[in-house]
């Protein structure tokens, strides 16, 4: 195995691994500061913050000969017997110099900068910079101009790492951003009338190591140190990007992509990034209601409602359920189990799959799916596991309309209108209609039970994306008072003890369904690939 020496510590790397100095130092637990280098972008080695000393150990004699100058670690490949020194006086001096240079014209307007608190310029300056300022310039300007609808540029805060420029060239292929002027007058800009307007534009804000690129949606809305970060999964489309949900006091302020080499690398699309707004919509349904004998809806509290709902379901006759692709795997499982427990012949079908447009694939392979739900694969697998014969949700509706089914449970969670008047009309033939949804819809208006649902960041569970990768997540914010997450309701109705625990349910699922067997083990942050076991299962049977 190739051995690399970092600050005297020997690190073994894989025989075919191509790592640079920054990556190999990270393995040794050494942080090499850097601005321009990003694992997802090409190497330009221009910020010069990652300067280190390097050399080579003679494999025969063990003697180490060092280069007489500093080199950028991002551009220096780590091969067998490469030596890196990241803590010498030369390296410290070089870092201090770069930090001093970057602050010569930086406005240092941290008190009014959104990035303060998560800014690499701040962090690195604190760690590697000089204590006093020697530059005699007065950099107090803070020019701002918008790059597009989503991103704004604070010109003077920029350190010219060009990550954003490379992103639009290499990842989206749209190349809106560029560098104008020369030398110390350089600025990031767009061509007139060609704003930054691609569907992944928000990523440049994440890429910006300083406060130069600001997210217009998030701008001035929250200091970053007030927010708590939760690992989540984007529910915007079938790609299922790993995200961080950042919230303060149950209010989500922004979503950020979470690195996941199997799903979204370092990126997410704007649709997902800004697609959390519905969760705080004032139009959300927040109270459970039951249609009374007088034809009026009366509010009920969940504890009494659970009992009456159970009784109504048992009385209803033949049951059917539309299992929404917005439900988590665990919720879908519990819902199916509940239906079959009450009526062993209950019809189960996957609810409508929202499809908008067609898949969009970017040059680097990142895809925005037309299927605007996070869990079609998972819900399909659960429903297929319960069903002996396939039936679509339209078949179920027909059965409802012709009177073969008396009780229908419709789970929703859709962001968009999913139900038209004709559908609602068919559904209304049922004697018992339970609709569980975020927003009112034609079906909601004719329901016997109107049950508010929880949004994607308000529940525990797992989603299975289009590539059969199961990712588990925990709740990030508490649902508004009055809303009981679906899983909790099903758990209660099934008469289980204690609080709803999605992991317990997932264990059951993994045991019961071979498709989910890979989820038997604890699910890592990047998720598990269910396809592997599926193939193994097929081979075994």
């Amino acid at each position: 195995m190739p051995t690399v020496i970092v600050n005297g510590q020997e690190i073994e790397i894989g025989a075919n691994e191509r790592l640079n100095g920054i990556q190999v130092a990270r393995r040794a637990g050494v942080d090499v500061p850097h601005y321009c280098w990003h694992p997802g972008l090409s190497v330009v080695a221009s910020c010069r913050m990652c300067l280190v000393e390097t050399g080579r150990r003679d494999p025969e004699t063990g003697q180490i000969s060092m280069l007489p100058k500093v080199v950028p670690a991002c551009q220096t490949p780590a091969t067998d017997n490469t030596v890196f020194v990241t803590d010498s006086d030369n390296v410290k001096a070089a870092r201090a110099m770069v930090e001093e240079d970057l602050l010569i014209r930086h406005p240092i307007d941290c008190p009014i900068c959104d990035k303060a608190g998560e800014c690499y310029l701040q962090d690195y300056h604190f760690e590697h910079g000089r204590a006093e300022r020697r530059a005699d310039l007065k950099p107090f300007t803070s020019r701002r101009r918008d790059m597009g609808d989503t991103v704004t540029l604070f010109v003077d805060r920029c350190v010219m790492c060009t990550r954003c420029v490379r992103f639009t060239r290499e990842i989206t292929g749209t190349a809106e951003l560029m560098v104008i002027n020369r030398g110390a007058h350089e600025e990031i800009d767009v061509f007139p009338n060609h704003p930054l307007s691609n569907k992944m534009s928000g990523n440049v804000v994440d890429l910006c190591p300083v406060g130069a690129l600001g997210d217009r949606d998030f701008l001035y809305s929250q200091r970053v140190w007030f927010m708590k970060k939760h690992e989540g999964v984007c529910a915007g489309c079938a790609t299922g990007c790993s995200t961080y949900v950042e919230e303060n006091q149950d209010q989500i302020y922004r979503l950020k992509p979470r690195e996941n080499p199997h799903v979204n690398k370092w990126w997410m699309c704007d649709e997902g990034r800004y697609g959390f707004k519905h969760i705080h919509s004032e139009h959300r349904e927040l109270l459970p209601r039951r249609l009374g004998d007088n034809g009026e809806y009366g509010t009920a509290d969940w504890s009494t409602l659970t009992g009456s709902l159970m009784a109504d379901l048992q009385r209803a006759g033949r049951l059917a359920a539309l299992v929404s692709p917005h439900l988590t795997v665990e919720e879908a499982y519990l819902l199916c189990k509940l239906m079959r427990e009450i009526d062993p012949e209950a019809l189960l079908a996957v609810g409508p799959i929202p499809v908008i447009g067609s898949d969009e694939v970017f040059p680097n392979g990142f895809a925005i799916r037309a299927e605007k739900c996070p869990n079609r694969r998972g819900v399909e697998a659960i429903v297929a596991g319960f069903n002996r014969s396939e039936s679509g949700w339209r078949d179920v509706l027909t059965q409802v309309a012709n009177g073969a089914v008396q009780g229908v449970w419709v789970s929703g969670g859709y962001k968009h209108d999913w139900c038209d008047a004709a559908t609602a009309d068919q559904l209304s033939s049922a004697s018992l209609l339970v609709v569980q949804d975020l927003f009112s819809s034609p079906a909601w208006d004719v329901a016997t039970y109107q049950l508010p649902a929880a949004g994607f960041a308000e529940k525990d569970g797992s989603f299975v994306n289009v590539a059969d990768r199961l990712q588990s997540f925990r709740w990030a914010i508490r649902p508004p008072s009055g809303v009981l997450p679906e899983g909790h309701l099903y758990w209660r109705m099934l008469g289980r003890n204690g609080l709803y625990r999605s992991r317990v349910v997932l264990d059951e699922i993994a045991r019961d369904f071979i498709y989910f067997s890979a989820a038997m083990e604890p699910v890592p942050a990047v998720g598990v690939d269910l396809k592997v076991n599926q193939l193994a299962g097929v081979a075994a049977s």
């Binding site: 280069l67 014209r105 020697r134 005699d136 010219m160 560098v179 007058h185 350089e186």
Partner: protein, 457 residues
């Protein structure tokens, strides 16, 4: 060194219609091309150039033959040849003289060099500010196509070559090897990180050789007269130093500044600054004394008047603390010049021309300029000199903090001027800023009014 030297590169310059093919061929032109294409294989040409120990004339002095051998063997092609005619080092104009007055000499060398490197396309990256050179080069290329020296199957040898002139947009950085390549590709001239070197991955990601105009002109004569002739001129390698490649062959020296007869003169490598001034320049103008001289373009640093015995070969100037020979453009400053003004002007140039890619160069050059501006207007402090030296010592590829050598070029005038003329700087600062020259506080105090915070809302 021989007292009398017969010019070779400048032999035709100054004669009537020297830029036409007819005059050039009358003087024996295109015999070397015929010889190379009909009698020699590309490897023979490379071997001949290697034997001659020709070193690149663009500034860095890299052995030309060696550079050509770095091209990958058996590459399916295309291989590109780039001629660097983006001559923008202050004080330098020898390429212009060649391109304007003897373009065929250089074209012949370019075709031979392309043949040696098996390049099928050659680009001449020409500085925009050379309109006459552009017209004459283009006319010369047209003449070559008409005469069958360019195009398909040159002189029946089966070798084909096309030459295109690309005019730059007037940026110093485009003269840097990889900056030139980026610019030629239509991008911003940001020098590339090396490796890969252009010989492996250059223009359009294909193997590329980049050579200077004067280098190509030398190739013509090496083929015409043989490597032995070339080796007979100049300074032989130091036998005690195996790494010394020597400084052989003729060199065009650009002499300008405060001398009686500025111009481009040809001399064997190794002539000293004093000899240049006396033999060609006609002495310092107006009967004054010299104060300093730039040995080879402003980025090479500064020589004091008592260092004029510095030989202008590839090793000479570095022994006197300069960066190197550079473009061999000697600019002489007389005793009336203020070194503060000189350095300010130099810093202004490099701050303007820094491409802005690497942080130390982008910020260092502009910071140095700001400090010098302040010194110049009488608010200098003695500590500023150490700060300038620190900037000078820490930017460039030599300390390893930048991608290309522009920062080294910016650093050398700084370091040389302050180290060699520190007394003058100190006197200037003391006299112009009597109240504050000794101030050592890191930040000059700012008044409250100056601290206006322009809000970003």
């Amino acid at each position: 060194m021989a007292e009398y030297y017969e010019p070779v590169l400048l032999a035709q310059v100054g004669k009537p219609d020297s830029h036409t093919r007819a005059v050039y061929e009358q003087a024996g032109g295109y015999r070397a091309l015929r010889k190379a294409l009909t009698e020699m294989s590309p490897l023979d040409v490379i071997e001949e150039v290697k034997t001659s120990r020709l070193r690149g004339r663009g500034g860095a002095g890299f052995p030309t033959g060696l550079k050509w051998t770095f091209l990958p063997k058996d590459h399916p092609g295309p291989i590109y040849f780039c001629l660097n005619a983006d001559e923008s080092e202050p004080g330098t104009f020898n390429n212009r003289i060649i391109m304007e007055d003897d373009p065929h000499q250089m074209l012949e060398g370019l075709i031979i060099s392309s043949y040696a490197t098996r390049a099928t396309t050659a680009y001449i990256y020409m500085r925009f500010e050379y309109p006459l050179a552009y017209r004459r080069m283009q006319a010369a290329i047209d003449e070559c196509y008409a005469a069958g020296y360019l195009g398909k199957d040159i002189l029946g040898s089966g070798y084909s070559l096309d030459i295109y002139i690309h005019r730059g947009a007037a940026a110093y950085i485009c003269g840097e090897e990889t900056g030139l390549i980026e610019s030629l590709e239509g991008k911003r001239a940001w020098p590339r990180i090396k490796p890969p070197f252009p010989a492996v991955e250059g223009v359009f990601r294909k193997p590329t050789v980049v050579n200077n105009v004067e280098t190509c002109a030398c190739v013509t004569h090496i083929i015409a007269r043989g490597a032995a002739w070339f080796q007979s001129i100049g300074v032989s390698p130091d036998p005690n130093n195996p790494r010394d490649a020597g400084s052989l062959g003729p060199k065009l020296y650009c002499l300008s500044g405060h001398i009686e007869k500025p111009g481009c003169y040809e001399a064997p490598l190794g002539i000293t600054v004093q000899q240049l001034i006396d033999r060609f320049g006609g002495g310092i103008w107006k009967g004054r004394k010299a104060k300093a001289a730039i040995p080879g373009g402003i980025s090479m640093g500064l020589l004091r008047a008592d260092e004029f015995d510095c030989p202008l070969d590839f090793n000479g100037p570095s022994k006197y603390g300069c960066l190197g020979l550079g473009t061999a453009a000697v600019v002489v400053l007389d005793e009336t010049v203020s070194i503060v003004d000189f350095l300010h002007n130099s810093a202004r140039f490099f701050a303007h021309e820094s491409c802005g890619q690497c942080t130390p160069c982008r910020e260092g050059t502009s910071w140095a300029l700001k400090i010098l501006e302040r010194i110049k207007v009488g608010r200098g402090r003695l500590v500023d000199l150490d700060l300038l030296l620190e900037i000078g010592d820490t930017i460039g590829i030599m300390p390893g903090t930048t991608i290309c050598g522009l920062a080294d070029g910016a650093a050398w005038p700084l370091k040389n001027a302050i180290r060699k003329f520190r007394d003058e700087f100190e006197t200037y600062i003391r006299e112009s800023n009597p109240g504050g020259y000794g101030d050592t506080t890191p930040v000059p105090s700012l008044s409250l009014q100056e601290l206006t915070l322009l809000g970003s809302h």
